[in-house]
Symmetry: C2
Subunit: 93 residues, 2 copies
DNA sequence: CTGCATCCATCCCGATACTG
DNA sequence: CAGTATCGGGATGGATGCAG
């Protein structure tokens, strides 16, 4: 469910900074292409990790946020982050 | 570093059951092909997560075990396992 | 603004046969 | 026993253009 190239950082961004619109995410991850961002978001949505709120306006507006299930991943993120910091301490460069 | 299809379960097996020989791992994961098992083990080794001990005998003998870095991943595994159990409780089927 | 359609390169893994 | 060699297919991500 989190196997995509950008899924973890997307979830992390939504976890730490809350609701985000599509183009906000594009700006925050300049390397990801539009097509890929769309697909990763759709996959996260169909796995129930994020919510997708569409506002039927012109111009369109779509907001992404963590679902409850997505939020429940947060302890894992913290554990991974802790590991990463220790790993960098023991393997400096 | 743990992105391969079988890397997490290989690490988990080594974490919970200690040293394993090549063909023991093959038997324990019947779905993995020889070629793929070899590659995943080599990648784990070059990332420093497992140790590869070769005994220059006939017939050959190679033992795989967790490195200290590999062992340090264990808290993450526990956190993931905990999440998985809760997820299945909340999403029964 | 938020997409979809198309085409393409690469990576990952599997199937199978062979080897010291 | 513990691999290597070869071939191939499917998934993943990128580039580019078009659209409501």
């Amino acid at each position: 469910m989190v196997g995509g190239k950008y899924k973890l950082i997307i979830l992390h961004k939504l976890a730490t900074h809350g609701i985000r619109r599509f183009n906000e995410l594009r700006r925050e991850f300049p390397n990801i292409t539009q097509r890929t961002l769309t697909r990763q978001l759709r996959e996260l949505e169909s796995d129930g990790l994020i919510n997708r709120q569409v506002y039927p306006e012109i111009p369109p507006k779509v907001e992404y946020s963590l679902s409850e299930t997505g939020k429940s991943l947060y302890p894992i993120f913290l554990q991974i982050e802790k590991w990463g910091l220790e790993y960098m301490e023991n393997n400096p460069k």
